[in-house]
Amino acid sequence: MWFKHIILSLLIWLPVIGAMLVLLTGGDRQARAARFIAFSVALLNLLLCIPLYLAFDPSRFVMQFQENHLWIRAYQIHYALGVDGISLAMIILTNFTGLLVILAGCQAIRVRIAQYMAAFLIMQGMMIGVFAATDAILFYVFWEGMLIPMYLSIGMWGSANRNYAAVKFFLYTFLGSILMLIALLYLYNQTGSFDIQRFYGLHLPIAIQKLIFFAFLLAFAVKVPMWPVHTWLPDAHTEAPAGGSVVLAALMLKLGIYGFLRFSMPIVPQACAHLAGLMIILSLIAIIYIGLVAIVQVDMKKLIAYSSIAHMGFATLGCFMIYGIIRHMAKYQDAYMSLEGAVIQMISHAFGSGAMFLGVGILADRLTSHSRLIKDYSGVAARMPLFAAFFMLFAMSNVGLPGTAGFVGEFMVIMSAFQSHFWVAFTAALTLILASAYTLWMYKRVFFGSIVSNEVAAMKDINWLEKTNYILLAAGVFFIGLYPAPVLNVLHVTIEHLLSISMPPLKV
């Protein structure tokens, strides 16, 4: 592959350049051109993932497709990119979601289309940058850089309370990241470089490790989000346009988990082992308490937002259970399964929740009030049978039904936890009940029952564009649920390596 050495840069900058082109089309008069350019760029980016996947060598744990240029000499900051199995999977997922969001936006957005498309394309580029960066400051620049388009997209195309939600979103995440920046600068002082790999070999004293751990924790916990710093998410999700919610749920939340995997666990393994108990408790609170909160929601988007927090609890649980598993059982295999479960959960959640957010967008689009309240809908299934069928599938994935994407990750995390900590696993497994409760109850109230209003009675079933979106997402759900081997294959060596560097040296 001749463009092997620039493919990551292409993936990052193509959407950004595309965004510039889209902006050049100007106002809403040339909406068709804006849509067309945005769609072609997103499609091209997704197609670029095919050679990326094929050329990736899953048997090596080192970073592949590396690019490295000195960027800022004074601080030895490099424009350094590279991918391993986890980031490869996330980049493909980002491009897949990016295309869906553009498609959905083609229909749902009617004002300032060019700016909308540009915002999402830039966001996509920044997101890929986060997953591909191997230099800490480059990572940070992408990490913060995507706040700007996200802030704008919530504020410009959001619903009534959008100003509040947008500012809250921005300040919360901005606040989260500052301590991470100081931690990175501290690590730079220790190593003389911002290369993330160089941070791994440091054997810092445990007290310093703990400080760095908490600095990272704040940044990543806000993004995941973990209880108790999750409060921005329901607001942002609810007020954002459908596309924004999809990006938030499918991708942005994963950045937090990705941060734990890329920074916290390998850089400060002893602190992680020490504080794993705290992390597990926080994860369990997210799973149980937030699950309960989800049940009582009256707003569909809020409900799905809370369910996202609960599902992300599984991912953090899987990450930090490995320390307990190793300590109690010294069984490497279980720890591996736990970590792999966390990563799978991170990927699979994108399909289910993303699809459900799109679904709420589709429903709200058909009502003049754009209501998201459950009580405004009833008997939708009678008018939109195809939509109801699709939505059922995604709801089932959210519940964790075997055969769908949602099942695999949760099952792996719970299974591995059962081997060492029965009560942790038992508590986590309660989610299977909670998730069914809130998802299916919502489904019942929205889709079944008698038709509530004339507007619902006049609803049309999904059109070809929405169908395309849903077919793609359904394919994703079944793919992870039934035959995840191509993904696991890519992840295998990377996760093994991650596990080996995330383990504190065992006392003999």
Partner: protein, 487 residues
């Protein structure tokens, strides 16, 4: 016996040329009919360009510092670079001013001539190598600025602002002079070089009078900077002065003031660094705190940016604080102040451009829905605001990063954390501007009001706004330049 040598006039060529040109323009302007004011404007800008080229030539010509005029005058990298920045900032300030002053009958030749005198003062400050020359340059700058603020004779606010500025400024100059006189009393010299060498040998370091001198000099400087607790004049002057003058005050003088601070604290009094850095810690924290906090409460964007400038001065001081114990503190501070000047000039320029004939549109409300009225201007403002907030990929991020790196290196981790906490508070009011511009609809009476800007000014504002982005993507060269000038 003092050795009187012929001064090296060629070293002061930029200033000498500038002074001649000012006299020439003054004469020409008297003979000009109303309506031909563009000649004055053109000559002013040409002068700035010519002086810029002279300074550029000096940059290559003098690889080593030259001290002349009886040790009162120096040409080194710091001086030349400061001059270059001052000239560029003034050049842009005059471009933006033209449109604004035309609209409110202050289009006099005096505006440019006073401006040029201010620039001359700053050039002298940049090259000053004794307290006498520093004071001379500073006063030339200040007196011109007082007059420029008062130029709009029919505006009560401007007159009041000028009065306040003058009284406060005179007080500050008094403090500075008093400090200098104590310093002279103790060391017997007003040369930066001589004082620095004497202290280096351990003389006078433990003399308590030195601390007195330091405190007075520092107060004078901080007054000029507008740092807490000497910040009271800043919001009133920024608000009351014509916007084009505010723009000018907020830009180039900050760089010149930074340069003399470097000369005094780092070149003359480095042995007192434990004393001055502990004073500056308090000042910096207070400035960041109250600047950011009070800015939130403002409804007038000029006042808001005035408080924000107080906060930014606080950040700049952080670099100076970490300077003695880190390799990069001073250059980080210089990078910060230069990039801040670029950003602030752009922001004030947009405020000046939006105001219509005689009517100031400087309330936050006037920015509602700017994106719908003029998307490009709104986008430039967006870049500038995010840069002030320090969000990547704008240059403001790297400015803060440099300071933080220096602070962490100097073991001031707590100060770094505090600085970032204040940055979050600050982010709120910058975000509010973006929120108003992008998330809201324009006010009824402004909706049909077209914003007409000449292509020349559009180019200038585009260069200015894009600089915040481009320097954020490729900051390396500017960082290196700052490092070279502060070795």
């Amino acid at each position: 016996m003092m050795n009187i040598a012929m001064p090296l006039f060629s070293a002061a060529l930029p200033e000498i040329f500038m002074l001649c040109m000012i006299s020439f323009i003054l004469l020409i302007d008297v003979c000009l009919k109303e309506g031909y004011r563009i000649v004055t404007y053109g000559l002013t800008q040409l002068t700035l360009i010519a002086v810029f080229l002279f300074a550029m030539a000096q940059y290559r010509e003098y690889p080593y510092p030259i001290v002349t005029f009886g040790d009162h005058y120096v040409v080194d990298k710091l001086a030349i670079l400061t001059k270059l920045w001052v000239l560029v900032a003034s050049f842009f300030a005059f471009i933006y001013a033209r449109h604004y002053i035309k609209g409110r009958s202050i289009l006099y030749g005096e505006y440019y001539i006073l401006g040029l005198f201010a620039v001359l003062g700053m050039l002298i400050m940049a090259s000053a190598y004794s307290f006498l020359t520093i004071y001379l340059g500073l006063e030339l700058l200040s007196l011109s600025l007082y007059a420029m603020v008062a130029l709009q004779k029919d505006s009560a606010a401007a007159t009041e602002a000028a009065m306040k500025y003058f009284i406060m400024g005179a007080l500050a100059s008094g403090l500075l002079l008093y400090g200098i006189s104590i310093l002279y009393g103790v060391t017997g010299s007003i040369d930066i070089l001589t004082i620095g060498n004497a202290l280096q040998k351990g003389l006078h370091v433990h003399n308590p009078a030195m601390i007195f001198a330091l405190v007075f000099i520092l107060s004078g400087l901080l007054f000029k900077f507008g740092a807490v607790p000497f910040h009271m004049w800043v919001p009133d002057v920024y608000d009351g002065a014509p916007t084009s003058v505010t723009l000018f005050i907020a830009s180039a003088p900050k760089i010149a003031a930074f340069c003399i601070t470097m000369r005094i604290l780092v070149q003359a009094l480095p042995m007192l660094s434990p004393a001055w850095s502990s004073i500056l810690v308090v000042v910096a924290v207070l400035s960041m705190f109250s600047g950011n906090l009070l800015a939130i409460a403002q409804t007038n964007i000029k006042r808001m940016l005035a408080y924000s400038s107080i906060a930014h001065i606080g950040y700049t001081l952080l670099g100076i604080i970490s300077g003695p114990t880190s390799a990069t503190g001073y250059s980080a501070a210089m990078f910060y102040i230069t990039t801040y000047v670029i950003v602030a000039a752009g922001a004030f320029a947009i405020i000046a451009l939006l105001s219509k004939q005689g009517i100031e549109l400087d309330q936050l409300d006037d920015y509602r829905g700017l994106n719908a009225r003029h998307p490009w201007l709104a986008f430039m403002m967006l870049l500038l605001m995010f840069s002030m907030a320090g969000v990547p990929p704008t240059v403001g991020f790297f400015a803060k990063l440099g300071l933080l790196a220096a602070l962490v290196e100097a073991h001031y981790v707590w100060l770094a954390a505090l600085a970032l906490l204040f940055a979050i508070i600050g982010a709120y009011y910058y975000l509010r501007i973006v929120m108003l511009m992008y998330f809201e609809e324009p006010r009824e009476d402004l909706r049909s009001n077209r914003i007409a800007i000449s292509p020349g000014i559009t180019t200038a504002i585009t260069l200015n706004g894009m600089a915040a982005l481009i320097l954020g993507l490729l900051p390396s060269a500017l960082i290196d330049v700052c490092r070279i000038s502060l070795g």
